[in-house]
Amino acid sequence: MSTTASLSISRDDQRTLVVVFLRGAADGLTLVAPVEDDNYHRFRPRLAVKKNEAVPLDGMFGLHPLLRPLEAAWQEGDLAIIHGAGVEDESRSHFEAQDFMEHGGHAAGGWLARFLRTALPASGGPLGAVALAATLPEMLSGAPSAAAIQSIEEFALGRGVPANFPAELERLYAQERGGGSLAAALRAAAAGTFEGLHRLEAIDVKAAPAHGASYDEKDEFARGLRQIALLIKARLGLHAASIDLGGWDSHFTQQTLIEPLLRRLAAGLAAFRQDLGAAMGTTSVVVMTEFGRRVAENASFGTDHGRGGAMFVLGGGVRGGRVLGGWPGLQPELLDGPGDLPVWNNYRNVLAPVLQRHGAPPDALGKIFPDFALAPLGLY
């Protein structure tokens, strides 16, 4: 396989989009709390972030105190926040909303996959996209090539394999003909896996993080971000990476449940930003979740499924230090259905300008997000 040519990729303008999905529906009103809105404290007598404890952002919002590691990015204008973000799907179902959000509407395959397919030159290569996960997320479903990996070091056949074995295995998959579409998919999956194997052999995985950054090696999320940073810094042509931080479904004793997650989210992202240094200028991190949670807390110190949530856009030249997209307030008559923060910023309007920044031509956006009238937010 001709890997030498593709391994020489080292364009300085290589852009990478990292999608962090907070699975389980993260409570946007805790991540980015409208601490100056009296209704907020009325709806959340026990769960509201206290005004004097929040990390102040502007006249209305404060970050949860455990997100303080992100304060520097905010102050340096590298972090933009969008509130009331979400999908038009009203099912309030994790699976339905994640599915809808990852597919980019009722479309085949994922939006990130369609971005990779329509917006990038065909030479994207097998390391065009990785998911730091056991399985590919739906947003990458249908990508030209995308590998689910848990650590770069694991990505090798290992010692003790007979010399001819890999080539014969590669040949068997390349010749796979039976079983119709499954055979074709297996052939493609194997080709991507082999190409990835060849390329990853070139990375020095022992290299320490740059700029004094320090990841919590005990934390799977931080470890994943470190792997993504390695791939970005090695300039192997990585266009997109996906990583999940799950467990936000806080119906019950919300604080106990999500405080460790807030800590991990903030520490991981802060280390990643420091590690990449100047490369953050060409790297965007989008943090999203399937929906927010009900404004009023429930009897079990938790919150039920709601609609609007919060999104973050970090790095990549974003004009940050701003909460974008407006804030109509939490007056009871403005709430949606059983009392939810409405969705006034469709998530596609946040993603579209980011994808444009990452090379999607304007006419490709309609293919990435079909059947939707885009009104991209002014992120840049």
Binding site: F95, I149, E154, L157, F165, L169, G179, L182, A185, L197
Partner: protein, 503 residues
């Protein structure tokens, strides 16, 4: 499994918890030592006809073995070919009549963990129970002769998925496995649904225990009510609305679990150790007003009976028949379940009142099933178990195998969200590398605690080519034989090959 209480067995009278725990630790230690003896002989004896499949493609016998089981072992093809596919299906639909000595021996060292009564599980080290559950799942799938039953246990474990990592599920998922999944896997869907609704693990996992209405201001916890309709019965497009979710939640208020300490939801119903985990109904936490669920009125004053009304309404709903049929067809026929087969299976489900055996009989009789040979991707658990079965592997320690499954993202009972592991092939293509690594390690006897007797097996089967045909469940194609010779390890190559990933 034994129904003798371990407590009754070990101690009588009022012994202290500390003493009981100490005794238990020593029993555990003894079981640990015993392990070195029970691994031996965990191989199927290679007696009887072992003739491998003669055809170059998957014939109906091979197809049935691929789909109704976790993959054939040496001799299975010959046995089912002699028995006939229909008789094999009937045999598998009556698991209670199938002797299962090998599996019993393989799991004997964990028999203690299937607690009776449940409360005693709470004495256990909470780190120990879930791994036992996972290890036993792997052993049963590998060694049980009741293969279709085990396949269905896996199916329902996904359908009624519970992540034992949440709260007390680490103690009581094991009871859910016994009383919900295994008790009804080939039985009556309505009974399984009711068992699940009242399973302590489910009440924990989907917050049913915290679904209370003690004052008019309190809002019910909707978590279980929603998943009951979305995932367990009607399906997300099954015709329910947000209002139905809220009404079902109201119907189910008041069901909770006896606790050690009151954390606000069990009321003052504290319990002695043996009753811990017991499910009870608290009338004072139940919203006893009138409700309307899916167009049907449930009058006020129903109390605990509201739950039965809800189960009745959702279990026999036409959307439920369609949803369950679709999932079964996706599991056994094709990811994209063929509509004709779904209709037939749904019809059978409805007509039989949710009889799982009758439903499966219809499914396996459809032309769509018969025409689907080789077109499904094995999920990683199926892949690993089928490799162990094909090579007649002897497993003395399941943990290294489970760690491979971790890498492939398919460890039993480790799926975090209530929708269960995905069925579609597209979710699993990223696991190829780990499948290959597993194949290489298994064939090379480099997995700690798992041994295959490769030469002996090949000899018993009648040579290397018979071994390859047994593994593939058909005769290898020219290209496959050729690649096997050149690769330096033909067995590893076939286990890693595209054909072995499919069923």
């Amino acid at each position: 499994m034994s129904t003798t209480s371990r407590r009754e067995f070990l101690i009588t009278g009022a012994a202290s918890v500390a003493l009981s725990a100490a005794i238990f630790k020593s029993v555990q230690g003894w079981l640990g030592e015993a392990r070195q003896y029970v691994g031996r002989g965990l191989r199927r004896p290679l007696s009887g006809p072992l003739t491998p499949p003669p055809a170059g493609e998957l014939d109906p016998v091979a197809h049935a073995l691929n789909r109704l089981t976790f993959g054939p072992g040496p001799g299975d093809y010959a046995r089912v070919a002699a028995l006939g596919v229909d008789a094999f299906l009937e045999e598998q639909l009556a698991p209670e009549k199938i002797a299962d000595g090998l599996c019993d021996r393989a799991t004997a060292r964990f028999a203690e963990a299937w607690w009776e009564p449940l409360g005693e599980a709470y004495e256990e080290d909470d780190e120990a129970l879930t791994p036992v559950l996972r290890r036993v799942a792997l052993l049963r799938a590998t060694y049980s002769q009741r293969q279709l039953f085990e396949v269905m246990c896996e199916f329902w474990s996904d359908h009624f998925n519970i992540d034992p990592g949440k709260g007390d599920c680490r103690y009581n998922k094991i009871a859910d496995d016994r009383d919900t999944i295994r008790a009804h896997a080939l039985g009556d869907f309505r009974a399984m649904l009711r068992a699940s609704a009242l399973s302590p693990a489910m009440l924990w996992y989907l917050d049913g225990r915290a679904n209370v209405q003690r004052t008019p201001e309190e809002k019910p916890n909707e978590n279980y009510a929603r998943e009951l309709m979305e995932l367990h019965t009607l399906g997300v497009h099954g015709g329910y609305a947000q209002q139905d979710v809220m009404e079902v939640a109201r119907c189910l208020t008041g069901w909770t679990i006896l606790a050690k300490k009151d954390d606000g939801f069990s009321g003052d119903l504290l319990s002695p150790l043996k009753d811990r985990g017991k499910v009870v109904f608290r009338p004072e936490a139940h919203d006893d007003g009138a409700k309307r669920v899916l167009g049907q009125d449930i009058p006020a004053g129903g109390g605990a009976g509201d739950l039965d009304r809800v189960i009745e309404i959702v279990a026999v709903h036409p959307s439920t028949a369609h949803f369950i049929a679709t999932k079964l067809c996706a599991r056994f026929i094709a990811d994209d379940a063929p509509a004709v087969a779904v209709a037939a299976v749904a019809q059978s489900f409805s007509a039989s009142g949710g009889d799982i055996k009758a439903t499966l009989r219809t499914l396996f009789g459809t032309p769509q099933f018969r025409g689907a040979a080789g077109a499904k991707l094995k999920r990683p658990f199926h892949f690993v178990v089928s490799a162990l079965r094909a090579t007649n592997a002897e497993v003395a320690d399941e943990r290294p195998l489970l760690s491979y499954l971790d890498k492939m993202g398919h460890t039993p009972f480790r799926y975090p969200t209530p929708d269960g592991y995905p069925q579609e092939a597209s979710h699993w293509f990223g696991t190829l590398l780990w499948r290959w690594k597993f194949a290489i390690a298994l064939a090379g006897n480099r997995i700690t605690g798992t041994r295959i007797a490769r030469e002996k097996l090949a000899r018993a089967l009648g040579g290397e080519s018979a071994l390859l045909a047994t593994v593939l469940n058909r005769q290898p194609a020219g290209g496959e034989s050729d690649a096997c010779k050149k690769s330096g390890d033909g067995l590893a190559l076939l286990l890693a090959s595209p054909a072995f990933q499919c069923c």
